[in-house]
């Protein structure tokens, strides 16, 4: 009863019908080229604006001035000059701030996400504090902890803690009914359910929180330096701005953004390694 179509024969000479879906020519251009193009247009526009004096040079330096200053600052950093010392201080603030935020945020997140008490009695206060403009606490931290890096670490951690709390707590709620029921029927203890099921399931959202925190921790450290002095990169920016040295401000900000991007990339890398099963990752983005 088997009836197989012959592979060759009357149909064979019709040939294949392989065809290609249409894509716009712009989508075929490599991503790097697209990005360079956008950057070139931006710099060209910037150059035109400054060249024809549409904006005063004090407000907006030319791209060339900025570029030369970038090289100057880069040299200073590489030769271990005073800027490197400042960068080192800011890096320490960011690093400690992030670690502190991770420890506090994760702990509070688990308490709030796992216990009914935490959710009912602690969460409302956390939400209330989160809605406050946290930068306004900077003078308090300076008053409590002094002008050294402690007050900056505190502000950075303070800002970065909340996204981690929210990510952890929300992640712990993400476990579906089936998984919960399964763990119940296996007779798992609460601790086992948390460690072997809920926390791994929460990891994607915890990492989303960490990514937001990695951006916030930079903002916190620099704001802390603006408002509380010290010897960090923020202080360099403040000094340059007060001397109307706008190219310097620009290049310092660019170097800071490299630090921020590196931190963000580190978190993304950790996420790819740890949450290896997560497939719907947006390229480098915060979800």
């Amino acid at each position: 009863m088997t009836h197989l179509e012959p592979a060759s024969g009357t149909d064979a000479d019709l040939g294949d019908t392989v065809w290609v879906e249409e894509t716009s020519w712009l989508d075929k251009v490599p991503r790097a080229v697209q990005m360079i193009f956008v950057f070139a247009v931006f710099v060209l526009f910037w150059d035109l604006v400054t060249r024809f004096g549409l904006v005063s040079a004090i407000i907006l330096p030319t791209p060339l001035e900025t570029f030369l200053d970038l090289i100057f600052v880069g040299k200073n950093l590489l030769s271990g000059g005073y800027m490197l010392a400042a960068l080192w201080i800011t890096l320490k603030e960011v690093f400690y701030g992030f670690l502190l935020a991770l420890a506090i945020g994760f702990t509070l997140g688990v308490i709030v996400g796992e216990t009914a008490f935490g959710e009912r009695a602690i969460m409302p206060y956390l939400v209330a504090i989160d809605t406050m403009p946290k930068v306004a606490f900077a003078p308090l931290f300076v008053a409590w902890l002094g002008f050294d890096i402690d007050s900056k670490v505190a502000l950075a951690a303070f800002i970065a803690t909340f996204p981690i709390i929210v990510g952890t707590a929300a992640g712990l709620h993400a476990a579906d009914t089936n998984s919960r029921n399964l763990f119940k029927t296996m007779g798992a203890t609460r601790w086992q359910t948390l460690v072997k099921m809920k926390l791994p399931m929460a990891l994607p959202q915890i990492f989303t929180g960490l990514k937001i925190a990695s951006v916030g921790v930079m903002a916190g450290a620099i704001t802390g330096e603006f408002l509380g002095g010290g010897k960090g990169f923020g202080e360099l920016i403040r000094t340059a701005a007060s001397q109307l040295n706008t190219p310097r401000v620009f290049s310092l900000i660019l170097y800071l953004s490299v630090v921020g991007l590196t931190l963000f990339a580190l978190v993304s890398y950790a996420q790819r390694r740890i949450v290896f099963w997560q497939k719907d990752r947006v390229a480098g983005g915060v979800e």
Binding site: N178, S179, K196, W277
Partner: protein
């Protein structure tokens, strides 16, 4: 209505439900009313009924996931007052954890019960089970790379690893295509009979219920109750060919007529 033990006339009772009722406090819905049933050792029973008639509720009560509002549930002479180790459960979704390999998923119940060392020791049995369900070679694959049918087979292994006395199955294969589903059902029959396990299956499909079961409980909704107990005296082992016999057709037709002409496959 007589207890199934009398009807099938085999084995000692394993599971006994007497006058079990459930009213959900949240919405005051009476999901179950005075359900009586007895499962005998090594028997295969199915419960069938329209959507929302309380089948899952019944299974959750039997497994100790939720307490009943009235009545008593006894398993192996001990009242069920919470999840039990002698119960194996399977849900509609495979619910494998993506950060564990297939093998690690299967020994998870052992790891939770007796710790990591015991789980490692149980890997021998896990491999044997994987071979039994035709998943040899997939020990170290992550569930994300398994098809739906393969994932369900792995979750059968996870259910069997603790050698439970009863298997409670809530529409385990309803997400699979028909061919895979028939195949899985025959696998299930083979596994149950080789281990003399007692099985209780929730399903929406009358043919599936008939081909697998010794007893089919027909449920009616609002409030959920068992309306009829149908004994299936087709010979064992069952084969897919039996589904074309006139007798099979008659039984299916009989159950269909009892379901009040509600929409069924």
């Amino acid at each position: 209505m007589q207890p199934a033990a009398v009807l099938t006339g085999q084995g000692e009772p394993v599971y006994q439900l007497r006058n079990v009722g459930k009213t959900y406090a949240r919405n005051a819905i009476t999901a179950l009313e005075s359900v009586n049933l007895t499962l005998t050792k090594g028997s295969f029973s199915a419960v069938i009924g329209s959507s929302g008639c309380g089948k899952s509720t019944l299974l959750k009560i039997m497994s100790g996931l939720i307490p009943p509002s009235t009545g008593r549930v006894v398993l192996q002479n001990r009242p069920v007052t919470g999840p039990r180790r002698d119960i194996g459960m399977m849900f509609q979704q495979a619910t494998l954890f993506p950060w564990r390999t297939t093998l690690e998923n299967i020994v998870l119940p052992i790891e939770i019960r007796d710790g990591k060392a015991a789980a490692r020791a149980a890997e021998v049995q896990a491999r044997a089970l994987l071979e039994l369900v035709g998943l040899k070679g997939f020990e170290h694959t992550y569930p994300g790379e398994l098809s739906g049918g393969m994932a369900q087979r792995a979750s059968i292994c996870r259910m069997l690893i603790t050698e439970p006395a009863v298997l409670l199955l809530d529409e385990p294969f309803s997400a699979l295509d028909e061919l895979t589903r028939d195949f899985m059902n025959m696998e299930l029959q083979r596994i149950c009979s080789s281990r003399n396990a007692t099985a209780f299956l929730v399903t929406h499909s009358i043919p599936e219920a008939v081909i697998l079961s010794d007893v089919v409980y027909v449920m009616k909704p609002r409030p959920g109750r068992i309306a009829e107990v149908v004994t299936i005296d087709l010979p064992r082992p069952r084969t897919l060919d039996m589904m074309t016999t006139p007798k099979f057709g008659q039984i299916v037709e009989h159950i269909r007529s009892r379901l009040d002409k509600e929409a069924f496959i």
